[in-house]
Amino acid sequence: MAEQSNYGRGPDEEEEEEEDIDESGYKSSKDAVLFAIDVSKSMLTRPESSDSRNPDAALCPTVAALKCAYALMQQRIISNPNDMMGILLFGTEKSKFQEGDEETGRGGLQYPHCYLLTDLDVPAAADVKHLRNMVEDEEEASELLQASDEEVSMANVLFCANQIFTTKAPNFSSRRLFLVTDNDYPHASNRDARNSAAVRAKDLYDLGVTIELFPISHPDRGYTFDRSKFYNDIVYSATPADPDAPAPLSADIKPANASAKDGISLLQALLSSVASRAAPQRALFSNIPFEIGPGLKIGIKGFILIKRQAPKRTKYVYLPPDSAKAQLAVLNTTMLAEDTARSVEKEEVRKAYKFGGETVSFNEEEMGKIRNFGDPVLRMIGFKPMSQLPLWANLKHNTFVYPSEEDYVGSTRVFSALHQKLLKSEKFGLAWFIPRRNAVPILAAVYPGAEERNEEGEQVMPPGLWVKPLPFADDIREPPETNPIKAPDEVIDKMRVIVQQLQLPKAVYDPHKYPNPTLQWFYKILQALALEEDLPEKAEDKTVPRHRQIHKRAGQYVVDFGQTLDEHFRKWQKDSGRDVHPTANGGAKRSKPTANGVAKKVKQEDGDDDGPTEEDMRSAYEKDALSKFTVANLKSFLQSKGMSATGKKADLVDAVTRFFETKMEVD
């Protein structure tokens, strides 16, 4: 059997731990989102009291929704590259719908006033471009964005969505219809039409499609969207038939206002509303027992809320000789026996360990027994104060855990009691954790996280327990030998002032303020290449510290610190008789009183010879005489700049030249 894999990988990686495979399986549970955007006359009306300084505020609701869809499409290409997205306009004068072969050409008649702008699929560059033209070029948009005089049948809209999901994303685990409208009472005078819509909504529900409603109000016209008129017949809740059931949090979101009275434009409101529902909640593990004590089990689910997003791997593409359009090559891996090169079925493969130049093997049953440390469980061993969880005790990202009533009724209240107790007493639980069958058992710290909401009252971090995999003795490395010199109190006092001056806002790190510069750059370039646009010049990097501010707020204190440090250091050298290196050449600290802005050179690795200084290098560079230096000199210079120092002498000279070239630009 051929195993399909998406990327070309090194030969060793097939021996990956099962752990990793499981997590990639988790990622590949795919999501399909279809936007259904209302194009009625009122959706096409710009808000009256629009603020001229904020062009976004002057958008009509339909265009704002399209912009929002455009933003989501771009974002999902980055964050969920395998997920599908589509856009369906309804209430348009024009009609367009592609169906399976049977109905070619007749689609438009079947779903009048439904216009499939972007078919449900993994977006292609052309889709992005098309959508961007729609939102940026008013003419192109106005041609299509014409409201029909006849009322569109909601039953038809929903069935149209049904057909799109059925054909395009038949077995996606998550399928969602994002419905954007300002009409809370369609078919106001036609009960039958409303009933047919309710039936079609039930079809969608049975198909496994969730409807997420994005209702729009118009406070400037005194209109507030009322869900109870129609949409509560269309939308299903996860826990039905219980008026006391906890409301799904998405219900928290207020209807977006078309006019920007409160300074938040409709677009912003929509964006944040969509963003909060953009990622479907995918459980990492479901319903493993959480054993709080012997005989006390409850149900939990695990989620990954924080995980490193990496840029994509390169793929192989094929450029057909007769066209410029690159095609993605799909890798097929077949296992071959090394001796006869015959192909091997998965069932024939057996695992063996290399040992002493040969192999040691176990049959499947033995292996199963060896790897089996019991059934999946999160089992509390006992509790410790948070102070016994040192900061360095971290292996990888932490998993979020929330109770589930599916297997054990009453799980939530027990979980809540434990959560509140751990928060209050600042304790964590030590747990034996086997997340899946035959997974590697680990010890983990189970600690509480409080709910966090922002100023608008929207939840930014959910309440729950976090599972932190703890390192074993085998994973803890010894530090290298050091001879620390404790700073005298006077020096520490000077440093304290600096630390106090440079607190981050609210003294917390807010990840939302720091986009990953590498990732942003990568996708900017990729998008430009895909859409055949000019490459951007320079990336914005919000992770670079604000040096000007640091200079202004703490500069004087740093100089102060430097002087105090120098004094005490000289004194210490005298006292301890360790007058080794004069600071003139390669001081540790460069709060330098020297002029001319050139950083002092860095100390040579061993201080063994008087290698050329940066000034020497620079003047040689200016005279184009870098090659007079020895390879060793060039290498050590490059290394001191943290640049790679490999290759022949010519390469090294090039590298040094490049270094000064870029440096000049900065200066």
Partner: protein, 727 residues
């Protein structure tokens, strides 16, 4: 640290080693070998060419050593010269280290032989030199030249370990009943020998065996992951910037268990042999009687879509391909010359962004294994400067946040820097923090209150703990406190299960069984070491102490297990259907819908209508009819599928049918259907080759319904799985 090592094991094989001492069932030699094999196989497992081992048999029937001509050196056999030990040597040793029929052989002479072996191989080179002697000390020894031997051992810097079978060790609480006089004498000789050596240990074997159960951790030489400046402000731009020379080293690095490689039976093996489970030690060469395994390698082929090719795909050679990326479903080609444009250029730096409060910091932000940052070694002023930062952070209960670029053009990371102060060691521990893109905003309802659909906030609700449950839980958590439950060496209260006393269960388990199998190819793997599963349960004593609190929690919690069968659906669910938020009776609407009254399933709306029939079905006929209709629809989809265009729909329909029939406990209908489908696909009755359809079904983990899911099924789980093999 991977320095060179040479170890000679002297194993007493004398007749008396065949006895079983102190009520053990195992022979003394077998017991001693448990220790020796563990040590030798650990060496083998390292795979290092520079870690040498040699084995000398003492009191062997034969004689084989460099001084075999001399009378004192009789009954001493060098079984293995110092060299790297591999499987063939292990097999040989396994056969040689057996109980002899002699009492003769001088342990002191064996020591001399071992010293000679080391001198011959290691010369004056940098080796760690070890001799391990395991004996029952029941043979006469000539202790006259002991001082010469001690001098030589000390001169060569040899570490000596003498382990005795049932030697007395009051400290470890071992005293042999009825010890022979000669043994007592010899024990005294060995003890004084060890006292005279610079670097020698005298111990009783039982202690060494006990300690085998405590895994050893590997020491790795620290390698820095960043070396450069820690800056505050920009020294290139401002004179007020601060810069400290620092180095960054890993603090945590996960030790992974060895990974198994893929093998397959050699091509020339007959089929019957293939199916036999192997539990033998396998050799890759022409090992004696061992089964032959061939390594499995991966062959890669690349395909691109091509409308003209059969099956819509054509193969392309890898040299026709170039590198690119995927943007959505568009392939983006990046020419060789543009390769670097996607690289975000950076220069190495560790630059402080600002400072945060320790009390407001959330631990779940930690993303990756921790590292530590120290001042550049040999740079005293940097050391003092960094110390000032560490102490300032500590005194202010603050952490620093910094941007790290470890190497040229590597990705910037955000680090949290936390102060650590020990008497002789100061550093900053760091851990990576997330970027905006790394956070997924999932939302979950609050846990301390309930906001209902109707908008009320409740403090009393079945999902919230009542006061009794809160109180009981609080008491239970406090009683199950581990912070002082452990005992240190002096018996003082200390933390239970501190991280440096916990060992990776899988890592040591796999190593344990590999080592065991290498020596004992035909026995079952041993039980895991106790310490590997010690922390899988709460300590029994603590549980006993806390039982009353726990009982109270259990009572107040009143948790009820949902019986697995409760999900089973039966007929007559009319009116109990899922309803929308408004409680509208959709069931009634469906029932009155003229199109659905006929119970004809519309292929365009097949899955919803199929499900709706199930939820309103009054009898088995309705179910059977719906399944028959869906079956025919599915066959049609497959038959009319262009390429694989209709397979997705079909797989989903089959999956839904299975799910519903499992719930309805009607496995037969589904299993018959799946058999029919398989038959049609194998016979190519659905217009051509539809094997890919079956493959997709198999990949979606759709199988026959088996008797673990529904009792009535006539198939076991394995049979259900095996059925999916297309033949």
């Amino acid at each position: 640290m991977a320095g060179k090592e040479a170890t000679v094991y002297i194993v007493d094989c004398g007749r008396t080693m065949g006895e079983s001492g102190e009520g053990r069932t195992q022979s003394n030699l077998g017991w001693a070998l448990d220790y020796v094999w563990d040590k030798i196989t650990s060496t083998v497992a390292t795979g290092r060419k520079t870690t040498l081992a040699g084995v000398v048999g003492l009191r062997t029937d034969g004689t084989e050593n460099d001084m075999a001509d001399e009378a004192e050196y009789q009954h001493i056999t060098v079984f293995q010269d110092l060299s790297q030990i591999l499987m063939p040597q292990l097999r040989k040793l396994r056969n040689e280290l057996v109980v002899s029929s002699t009492d003769a052989g001088d342990a002191i002479s064996a020591l001399v032989v071992a010293v000679q072996m080391i001198a011959k191989t290691c010369k004056k080179l940098q080796y760690a030199r070890n001799i391990v002697l395991v004996t029952d000390a029941r043979a006469p020894m000539d202790a006259s030249d002991l001082s010469d031997i001690t001098a030589k051992i000390n001169e060569d810097n040899i570490e000596l370990l003498i382990l005795g079978v049932d030697f007395n060790d009051p400290e470890y609480g071992v005293k042999e009943q009825e010890k022979e006089d000669i043994k007592q004498e010899n024990e005294d000789v060995f003890r004084s020998l060890c006292d005279d050596c610079k670097n020698a240990t005298f111990g009783t074997l039982v202690q060494a065996i006990d300690e085998l159960g405590i895994p050893r951790t590997k020491n790795t030489r620290p390698v820095h992951s960043y070396k450069g400046h820690l800056t505050l402000g920009n020294p290139e731009e401002y004179e007020t910037a601060l810069s400290i020379n620092v180095e960054r080293y890993p603090k945590i690095m996960q030790a992974k268990p060895p990974t198994a490689s893929k093998f397959v039976m050699r091509g020339d093996m007959s089929a019957s042999q293939v199916t036999q489970p192997s539990s033998a030690t396998l050799s890759n060469g022409n090992g004696a009687g061992d089964e032959g395994l061939a390594a499995v390698k991966n062959a890669r082929t690349y395909q691109v879509e091509d409308e003209n090719a059969p099956g819509g795909k054509k193969e392309v050679e890898s040299d026709e391909l170039s590198k690119g990326y995927e943007y959505g479903r568009t392939a983006v080609h990046i020419s060789e010359s543009d390769r670097n444009v996607t690289t975000y250029e950076t220069t190495p730096s560790l630059d402080i962004i600002g400072f945060v409060d320790k009390s407001k910091y959330e631990r779940y932000l930690e993303m990756d294994r921790s590292c530590l940052i120290i001042a550049s070694r040999n740079d005293d002023q940097a050391s003092m400067a960094l110390s000032a930062l560490i102490h300032a952070l500590f005194e202010l209960d603050s952490y620093a946040v910094a941007r790290l670029v470890a190497k040229e053009n590597s990705q910037p990371r955000i680090l949290l820097l936390a102060p650590n102060i020990e008497p002789d060691f100061e550093c900053l521990y760091d851990t990576e923090l997330p970027f905006a893109e790394d956070i997924r905003s999932y939302k979950f309802p609050p846990l301390d209150r309930v906001v209902t659909v109707s908008g009320k906030t409740l403090k009393v609700h079945r999902n919230l703990p009542n006061d009794e449950l809160q109180y009981a839980m609080s008491e239970y958590v406090d009683r199950m406190d581990l912070s002082t439950f452990g005992k240190d060496d002096e018996g003082n209260e200390t933390e239970y299960a501190p991280m440096d006393e916990t060992y990776s269960p899988m890592l040591h388990r796999i190593n344990q069984v590999i080592k065991h199998r290498a020596i004992h190819p035909n026995t079952d793997p041993p039980e895991p070491y106790e310490i590997l599963t010690r922390y899988s349960q709460p300590p029994a004593e603590l549980v006993k102490q806390s039982q009353r609190s726990l009982d109270r929690v259990i009572k107040a919690a009143d948790v009820k297990r949902v019986p697995p069968k409760a999900r089973g659906k039966r007929f007559g669910r009319k009116g109990r259907e899922e309803k929308p938020l408004s409680d509208l009776d959709v069931g009634a609407l469906l029932a009155s819908d003229p199109k659905r009254k006929t119970k004809r399933i519309d292929p365009k709306n097949a899955i919803p209508e199929f499900k709706q029939v199930f939820s309103s079905a009054a009898d088995i006929e309705a179910i059977q009819d719906a399944c028959k209709q869906l079956k025919n629809i599915t066959f049609d989809w497959i038959r009319h599928s262009v390429g694989d265009s209709g397979y997705g729909k079909a797989v989903e329909a089959i999956r839904v049918m299975r799910e519903e029939l499992v719930d309805f406990e009607e496995p037969g209908i589904f299993n018959d259907f799946l058999k029919e489908l398989k038959g049609k696909i194998l016979k190519e009755e659905l217009s051509g080759d539809r094997k890919d359809m079956w493959l997709q079904l198999r990949r979606s983990k759709v199988t026959l319904i088996h008797n673990k899911e529904v009792d009535e099924s006539q198939f076991t789980e394995d049979e259900a799985k095996a059925f999916m093999v297309p033949k």
